[in-house]
Amino acid sequence: MSGGPAVRISIESACEKQVQEVALDGTEMYVQPLSMSQNLAKLAQRIDFGQGSGSEEEEEEGEVREKEWGKRDQDEDETTVKFQPSLWPWDSVRNNLRSALTEMCVLYDVLSVAKEKKYMTLDPVSQENIAVKTPQVLQLISKKKSLATAAQILLKGAEKLTKFVAENQENRRQRDFNSELLRLRSQWKLRKLGDKILGDLSYRSAGSLFPHHGTFEVIKNTDIDLDKKIPEDYCPLDVQIPSDLEGSAYIKVSIQKQAPDIGDLGTVNLFKKQAKIKIGAQPWHVKLETAQNVLLCKEIFAQLSREAVQIKSQIPHIVVKNQIISQPFPGLQLSISLCHSTGDKKNSKSSPEKTRPDDHLYVLEHNLHQLIRGFHKQTLSPALMPHPASAPFGHKRMRLAGPLAYDKAEIASLQQNEGLLEKIIKQAKHIFLRNRTARTIDSLASRIDDPQIQAHWSNINDVYESSVKVLITSQGYEQICKSIQLQLNIGVEQIRVVHRDGRVITLSHQEQELQDFLLSQMSQHQIHAVQQLAKVMGWHVLSFSNHVGLGLVESIGNASAITVASANGEYAISVRNGPESGCKVMVQFPRNQCKDLPKSDVIQDNKWNHLRGPYKEVHWSKMEGRNFVYKMELLMAALTPCP
């Protein structure tokens, strides 16, 4: 506030020096003329002081002073004329002070002189008391006025201050270390250690038991030239993270197929580019989040590695460097790897990686993160708190084991704690099984167009189970041929098939089993369709079998067969359909229509004409019609006599 504009020249000060030079007694001379000159300036309005009648009687000193006064007067006049008082910031202050000083001097002199009682004396007079008191109203008004003036000054000052502060803040908001620190404090755990500020980016407070200390240090970014223009991304606060948490990391889960027949499992790479840095986020925040992610990835991998070594499985899990390899199914390899890239190496690494197809299983990677968080949460579970409070820590249900005499099975169920690896392998198995089931159904559907196969997948799955509804239909006859509806529940190791009638069949993870099963179902469907059609056409079902015990042995499943007779019983159609051998359709004619049948001597009577004649095979492929059921309908129609 004191830094007002510098005043280069001041007439007064020059004048002052002059006074000092002239007057031998510095102080006295110096002050006196000032006060007197002021006084004189006022007196001059009333009295012609300049004549100085008594000046000759005065001593030299006085004369000098007198002259000085005159000079000062002139000087002062000059000052007021030539210079605006505002040029010297203290002008009005000084003038007022001077007049005050004059008054004080007069008071002093009067009092001193009166005390001597030579020239003046004090004489007591009695005065009425009323006059003593200034009227209250006057006091009020004057006080109000003074207060108003003071208030105005204060308000003005406050206004200036707020304006100044606001401006300053606007300028410094981005660059102020302390405000940055405040922001950091609101999002991260900080503590002061000596003269250092340390932060904690570990997941310990969320329940992690990973031994990494996860400490970062907050540093004030001072290596910037304040005179130069500050770069846009400059931040006065920087964080120093442990060297092993630098760079970025992610967990990669992928399934590699050793045999090419297994369907492609890779999903589309949705996040090819690194996630964009949020606009407006502080550089330290981004840095800390990445470091925290590195730490979490490390923890996940450490946990998985530990489990991989501890868990015994038929095919042991292999932990090599930053990769864990496991075999969920024969010929299949699940690999979980920790990819940690530190800055510069990135470029050299990325080029070969691009060529490889992206086979991330993002769902599993995400689930791994979720699982480790679940692990963390467990360690902070309120069930660990003892009740009564004097008891030692331990899981609530474990404490009950003793007093309630839990048996081995109950204890095992308490202790059963599936590890991260087991869970993720199970999930991987399920994902694999689901994908392959989908592929099997799809390939069947594209390969075989009669009957048609449809799959309806449910959108919502469990991590270990999902289901699909498979319908086998014939085109154009969807309404009458609804025989085969299958619900496939895909689990971790196997697929459970639920028929519409409630039968349950369990299939293993082998692809061939599902394929064979579906083929046999499709073959059965055709026979079912004939049965349904017969009902609609008014034909009678003479025999029906899903599993025919005669004829060629099918390599997959069994052949099924049906025989239907026309309404008047003259004709009969027999169909045999096998998953492998395909369909064979025979028509039986009434005896009398068979011209080539040798007339038997035994069956002479006319009534025998109604006996069934021999079967003739229909050249099915030559039949007209776009699919099996349509052909069958045409055949039936042809064999039904016109009324």
Partner: protein, 208 residues
């Protein structure tokens, strides 16, 4: 019947020779909130847990002068939780290098018919109280802040009376014998509660 010969038997189960490290202090009711607040910040990030317990202290007199003391405690707000039977050994406070009181301790979780069984064994109840408060945890450290109530009618936990205007604060940790380093952790933790609460080793003999 002839009395069977007495032999020393090795312990067949359980944890042998566990020690409890303990620091005690108290906080006035009006400062309780600030203490809880601080503890929430210092301790593991768990849901704050409260408890209401009823403790009964049982004595068994032998021909030697001093009785055998057992403490039976059960939770009033969680009636299904097992009862807690506790033996506490003679407290050691003398060692200056150890920053906490140490005493031998045996914790047994038992079924609910404990009082009946203890009286069958010849134990007699000496005193009882109700403790109501908060429990915190930091790793293996346990912090219990509770208010004590005396029972107006013996055995009736419904009608109780406040014992004092202060809350008892106990910082404890279980460790196998000889692991005195844990007392350093406890002291460090106790330091962080100052000046709100002064946790110290209090020799109970001094208070007799």
């Amino acid at each position: 019947m002839e009395a069977p010969p007495v032999t020393v038997l090795p312990v067949s189960g359980g944890t042998i020779n566990m020690m409890e490290y303990l620091l005690q202090g108290s906080v006035l009711d009006q400062s309780l909130e600030s203490l809880l607040h601080r503890l929430r910040g210092l301790c593991d990030n768990m849901e704050p847990d409260t408890f209401v317990d009823h403790e009964m202290v049982f004595l068994l007199k032998g021909q030697q002068g001093s009785p055998f003391i057992l403490r039976a405690r059960h939770s009033l707000d969680r009636p299904n939780a097992p009862w807690h039977l506790r033996y506490l050994g003679q407290p050691e406070v003398g060692d200056k290098s150890r920053h906490a009181l140490v005493r031998n301790c045996v914790d047994v979780a038992v079924s609910h018919n404990l009082t009946e069984f203890l009286s069958e064994m010849g134990f007699r109840m000496d005193h009882e109280f109700v403790a109501k408060g908060h429990i915190f945890r930091k790793g293996a450290l346990k912090v219990v802040v509770c208010k004590l109530y005396r029972l107006l009618l013996p055995g009736n936990t419904e009608s109780t009376e406040n014992l004092s205007l202060s809350n008892l604060v106990e910082l404890s940790m279980l460790a196998p014998a000889g692991q005195d380093t844990v007392s350093d952790d406890m002291r460090n933790f106790a330091e962080q509660l100052k000046p709100l609460v002064h946790l110290e080793k209090i020799d109970p003999k001094r208070l007799m």
